[in-house]
Symmetry: C2
Subunit: 454 residues, 2 copies
């Protein structure tokens, strides 16, 4: 039985094992899930060991542990560092899930559950690919280092400390990551660019305590109104971010790249359908693909203040809050963006309120050429796994770690993504296409095997 | 023992009975408190009976029951309809209470607990005053009808249906209400004007489901941002409400009334201290007293959308919500305000989102002259109860029922309030001054007795 046949023969085994992983609610942002985080790390360690890796260890950190393992028995062959994460986004709002977030369920050719696409399903693709190579060839044809962290959804702080402390141990010829998506169903993709991300929380305080809106209304600063007025001033009418200096360092897209990106088989109609809004809205003067992959944004991710329960309460609250983030592109400097943003907010807010701005996480964009021979191996492997030609794309999401690794080790970063844009990563009813999950296992196995033939 | 001495001798009894009332979490806005609402209605009925009222009944309604009782044994003497409410505002946010909201606690001469000021404490003042008259004089010197409802904090819909169906039964020479405040500590007050209130909830929907802000950010409408931009447009830079027609019908304040209101011993410094904000903010061109009592407002009372939990979530939500309200003054028409507001919101919101605007409750303002002889009786009674001259004031809060009763029965409405502006009605740590509570019982007893001497 060859590699592909073997993988096809084990579909139930792949899925049953993945269910175990998905059932662990390893939400890194919520402290009540700390025991689940520990459980998920142990689970990953045991599966890496079963797939033939050695020296597998659960590395404690200041926050959530990361799992490291390696196999270094292919002298003269490439050394690959594979990175993924076992933590997931919060599942809230729970009532919008068709089936519970942590009870994996198949419907219509898709597997539903938090983490199916981002990133447990994709990490598991690699685990099963390694297992298949081990079972069919008896050994790995390359040298492999695997690092699976538990803080990706909250900023990867510990990961970076670990990398800095273990640079020689982590040295590799290329970094491989599967935490991105495919351009569309049937279009296997290699991602060569990601946006950066600064994530903030702001607290605006007006009155020292909540006040009755009848007795006090009309003479006191309302922090909700003031927060709204602030955010209304952060975009201009062309949907450009109205923070001074925000676009100063943005790299200009080359004519060739602009043409290549706009020529991809990207389906605007499918995008509109996935979004499902009455209309779309983006920065004037850029195509949708450019808006999503190559232009920076400022988005509100959450807002709250005052009475949010059932019925009415006539209150002017003491405080209002928002979570918001900027997606950054080459060559924006995340620290400079934060500095400009804070200065601008300070200038815009009236003196009737106080504010506190916290930076939750920060990371710059990454874009790199895809000229190394490994990319050709990846391109061919995707074609073998999916029976379709692969394309080179950029993405709007952020993996700060990729930027940092690229800057530190100066090696190719190969992003093989198996998610789809409509798979609700970070939202209710997250899912992965079973076709892409199984195709992914075959493609990754072919990729590792192909690298061994170089 | 005269009336005042009797009341002074029963301080512990007054308080112990009030504690029973306050411990019932009769929150009308939250359906899980329905059994507490029923319990509070029964408690009121039993206390009215104990205070000598007859035909006491708990009247079922479509929502929360109201309690009615009467004593009609003083032929030729005035007939008074006393109105109050036994329901309270939600206690949230619970973590900001120094002592639990439904465990009455005395600290520094004040009694803390939800409902102490608004309105259980004030209703109880009347119950104890009646009880004191019964115990000292053996009978009531006037004819009295008492109606205590359970929907004041959610719009008093059932109350009004009951009134309409029982007009002959409720006929009286005057309406008496204790649900307002005193101008300041040591300044007993009679309120002759209230603002009206329209309370709304808006839901803005952009994408059909929550989206990943990396994959989708930059090309889709963010409902939180759009909600913020909407509310930023509803005030101009002079803090005037920027809804077309909003001020069209506002009654101009007479020169005499403006002078009287601005000459009251209203303490701006105390107000600033109670608010505790870095600065105040109100409509340009009006004094603070005018802003609070005589000018209409539009206030955000709550806002929510997206991720509001711990840490970060990079989501563009499908929906964002806000609760907001307008305080109305004479002669604004609540329906016209709603119509103008809805039309304006429809105009302001971009076509990229849908919206739903719900009117939770609606009521116009009330202002009336205080020329009837009953007002003199009230003025004297307050002086007897508190040992201080009373003043005539307006208030920023709303009691839609007063407006409706005034319009329907064309009788004087006498608003004797015993709360203070810094007593956190509708907020955590709501309290009532014990001095005002006990003074209130004495003043109300003197008032009812004084009316009997007319």
């Amino acid at each position: 039985m060859n590699l592909t046949e073997y993988i096809d023969s084990k579909r139930d085994e792949h899925l049953n094992e993945l269910y175990e992983f998905l059932k662990i609610p390893s939400v890194s942002a919520q402290s009540e899930h700390k025991p689940d985080i520990e459980r998920a790390a142990k689970w990953v360690a045991s599966r890496l060991t079963a797939a033939g890796l050695e020296n597998v260890e659960i590395v404690p950190t200041k926050m959530h542990p990361l799992v490291y393992g390696e196999s270094l028995h292919a002298p003269g062959k490439p050394t690959i560092l594979f990175y993924g994460h076992y933590d997931v986004q919060p599942a809230e709002p729970l009532n919008l899930w068709t089936s519970p977030a942590f009870e994996p369920t198949i419907r219509g050719g898709n597997l539903y559950g938090r983490g199916t696409a981002d990133d447990k399903g994709q990490v598991h693709i690699h685990i099963r690919a390694l297992d298949a190579i081990l079972k069919t060839a008896g050994k790995l044809p390359i040298n492999l280092k695997v690092m699976i962290e538990g803080e990706e959804e909250v900023g990867s702080v510990s990961l970076w400390e670990f990398v800095n402390a273990n640079k020689p141990r982590l040295k590799a010829d290329a970094l491989v990551v599967s935490d991105t998506g495919m351009l569309a169903a049937g279009v296997p993709s290699i991602t060569y660019g990601l946006r950066g991300l600064n994530y903030y929380q702001i607290e605006v305080t007006g009155p020292a305590q909540d006040l009755h809106s009848g007795i006090f209304g009309g003479a006191v600063p309302n922090p909700i109104t003031i927060l709204c007025e602030l955010f209304a001033k952060l975009h201009d009418k062309n949907m450009r971010v109205a923070v001074p200096g925000f676009y100063d360092d943005v790299a200009k897209l080359s004519k060739a790249e602009r043409k290549a990106l706009n020529s991809l088989p990207w389906k605007a109609a499918a995008f509109r359908k996935t979004v499902g809004a009455p209309g779309l809205s983006g920065e004037k003067g850029a195509s949708m693909v450019e808006q999503l992959w190559t232009r920076p944004t400022l988005e509100l991710n959450g807002i709250w203040g005052g009475y949010t329960g059932e019925g009415s309460k006539t209150v002017i609250p003491s405080k209002a809050y928002a979570k918001f983030s900027t997606r950054l592109v080459p060559n924006q400097n995340p620290e400079k963006i934060t500095k400009n943003l804070e200065r601008h907010i300070r200038k815009l807010l009236p003196r009737t309120v106080k504010f506190k701005l916290d930076l939750h996480s920060s990371g710059k964009a990454w874009v790199a050429p895809y000229t190394h021979p490994y990319f050709e191996v990846a391109h061919n492997a995707l074609e073998k796994g999916f029976g379709k030609r692969a394309v080179f794309i950029r993405e709007g999401g952020s993996i700060p770690f990729v930027t940092q690794m690229y800057d530190t080790f100066k090696v190719p970063c190969i992003l093989l993504g198996f998610g789809l844009p409509d798979e609700n990563a970070h939202a209710p009813d997250e899912h992965i296409s079973l076709e892409n999950y199984f195709g992914g296992i075959k493609a990754v196995a072919q990729f590792y095997q192909g690298l061994g033939n170089l």
